[in-house]
């Protein structure tokens, strides 16, 4: 069972209250009023306009406008259309969706219901990573409660609107978080991403128009409908409104989840909220947004946690998974762990990715062992260059970025290994 976030805002405000996980408790806090308002008083187009106007960005990694994505769904034709809730959360360093499923199942379902109205979708498939057995059980219960209360199924709120929800369990594969890998997996196949176009809004789950959004994205929606776009824009930055749940891990006194406005400075998260590195040690580097995102060195932590500002520092917000590494950390060992993961998880369809991830791992492991040579660093950069923007999905980019980030800011660590022919950081975490 997860501990309640250390700082809470509207998303996680009631996460300490067990009753909030039940339909009764959720309704006692005003739950499903927003869905009722949307379905009884607003047209689907009104809802899309409102969500567009709120500036809500997807919280699954890419930060795309949620309202805009919904507007891509065809409104004519009589073929079924679907929503997919991406609860595959497997980006290393991310664990925010897990608590939203465990403690806020109805909040997310309400967001789904509103999105279903806005896009006139027939069914939502919630794709939960297979390892999240407890969160998926919680969600199953919430879905049953919602059906029993007439909040799902036929004639919702007496408005003739029909919507079904299917909770689908994955079976352990990182690539199923990528939206088209997810769709393949949902169809009972290997989770190998599809070539785009066609995009899911034209050809999605089971070949039908589909919108994929992240757990957290849906969870913000009831609050926007309830309180309005201006209220939402009162949190965060102009371009990145609302709050986000940041998951802090690694070398900090108080790791855990923190719901904070977008744009909260990274150093405030690391030093104030997570209380810095234990035993007075210093920070060496911080990965700001899950393992795919390039690392920042200690001197660059004054950056606001929003995509527009992180991009200026050649990194991204991703899923808001903040990984802190102290001064003893060997960045080549970090590279070994990171590249092993991507080598292991590549789905193997694209040569650049399948071979590139293997090479990156082989080279950094060689450097860590003290068997690296002068040219190895350039070779790493060369391989990264060959992987970027050339493959079916963004996985290959996500595998290259962290290596590029480590070399941008900690090249010295790699060079020192080559020079000394051994790892010069005996105090670093064990490999």
């Amino acid at each position: 069972m997860l501990t309640v976030p250390h700082t809470t805002n509207y998303l996680t405000e009631h996460f300490g209250d067990d009753a909030f996980t039940t339909l009764e408790g959720y309704r006692a806090r005003g739950g499903y009023e927003a869905a009722k308002k949307a379905i009884s008083e607003m047209s689907p187009a009104d809802v899309i306009e409102l969500v567009k106007d709120s500036g809500l960005q997807g919280r699954g990694g890419a930060g795309f406008s949620a309202g805009m994505k919904w507007s891509f769904m065809p409104t004519d034709g009589d073929q079924p259309s679907y929503l997919v809730c991406n609860a595959d959360e497997s980006e290393p360093g991310s664990y925010k969706d897990r608590i939203l499923l465990e403690r806020g199942g109805h909040q997310m379902l309400e967001g789904i219901l509103i999105a279903a109205w806005a896009t006139q979708a027939d069914t939502t498939f919630i794709y939960v990573r297979g390892e999240y057995a407890f969160p998926a059980d919680q969600l199953d219960r919430c879905v049953r409660e919602a059906y029993d209360a007439g909040l799902l199924g036929e004639n919702i709120f007496g408005k003739g609107f029909k919507h079904d929800v299917v909770v689908h369990r994955g079976a352990g594969a990182y690539i199923c978080g990528e939206e088209t890998g997810l769709l393949e997996s949902l169809e009972g196949k290997k989770g190998q991403p599809r070539k785009k176009p066609p995009f899911p809004a034209q050809f999605g789950a089971f070949g039908m128009p589909t919108t994929v959004n992240n757990v957290e994205t849906f969870s913000h929606v009831p609050h926007i409908v309830k309180n309005g776009a201006d209220w939402f824009k009162g949190f965060g930055t102009e371009k990145s409104p609302g709050t986000m749940i940041f998951g802090v891990s690694g070398h900090v006194v108080r790791p855990g989840l923190y719901e904070l406005p977008m744009g909260t400075p990274l150093d405030e998260i690391v030093f104030e909220h997570a209380q810095g590195v234990p035993e007075g040690r210093k920070v060496k580097g911080v990965i700001p947004g899950g393992m795919s995102m390039p690392i920042l060195p200690a001197g660059m932590l004054d950056v606001p946690m929003a995509n527009e500002s992180l991009r200026e520092r050649k990194t991204m917000l991703g899923t808001g998974g903040v990984m802190v590494m102290d001064e003893r950390t060997c960045m080549v060992r970090a590279a070994c762990v990171i590249t092993y993961f991507f080598r292991d998880e590549s789905c193997g369809q694209c040569t650049q990715c399948r071979e590139g991830t293997g090479w990156l791992n082989k080279i950094v492991e060689r450097i860590e062992r003290g068997a690296g040579s002068e040219g190895d660093i350039e070779l790493l950069l060369d391989v990264c260059g060959k992987m970027e923007a050339k493959t079916i999905c963004a996985f290959a980019d996500a595998a290259a970025w962290p290596v590029q980030g480590l070399l941008r800011h900690f090249r010295e660590d790699f060079e020192e290994h080559v020079r000394q022919k051994k790892c010069p950081f005996p105090e670093s975490f064990e490999l």
Partner: protein, 155 residues
């Protein structure tokens, strides 16, 4: 027939929830694995029959996903997450001490068939590291002593 009537009925229930039959393949494999412990060639063939697929198509799916096991393992599956956030907080040392404690290496099963031990990638518990997944249950914020206690308590 290795798949029980009960499991077959449950699979039919899953199939009814999807626009196309094959959508229920992962749920079906979960059900069968839960019942039989692993997905043997016979079970795979029977699943293929139910879904009107060739066995090789089902085998391909089984081998793609980490959570499906084509071969029998121990009565309990114990995984230590060794991804970066967990490694930063000592997960690899923990895994080594559990290997020593059980007298096996990651990927192996104890000779009494009690435990299969392995490492795994990030399980979404990064802030509560190091952690273990024992079958379907997470154990978090562990130290060596506590982790050994958990393993020793497994039947």
């Amino acid at each position: 027939m290795v798949i029980s009537e009960e499991a077959r009925a449950a699979i039919d229930g899953e199939i009814a929830r999807y626009p196309r039959k094959r959508g229920a393949l992962l749920p079906a494999l979960h059900l069968v694995q839960k019942e039989l412990g692993h997905l043997s060639p016979e079970a795979t063939r029977e699943v293929a029959e139910i879904f009107e697929l060739r066995p090789v198509e089902v085998m391909e799916v089984i081998s793609f996903y980490n959570m499906f096991h084509a071969r029998a393992g121990g009565r309990h599956h114990v995984y230590v997450c060794t991804n970066l956030p967990c490694s930063l907080r000592g997960a690899r040392g923990l895994l080594k001490s559990l290997e020593a404690h059980l007298g096996i290496e990651a990927g192996e099963t104890t000779s009494d068939g009690r435990i299969t031990l392995d490492h795994e990638e990030c399980l979404g518990a990064c802030g509560y590291a190091p952690m273990l997944r024992v079958d379907e249950t997470y154990h978090e914020d562990l130290d060596e002593a506590r982790a050994k206690e958990i393993l020793d308590a497994l039947e």
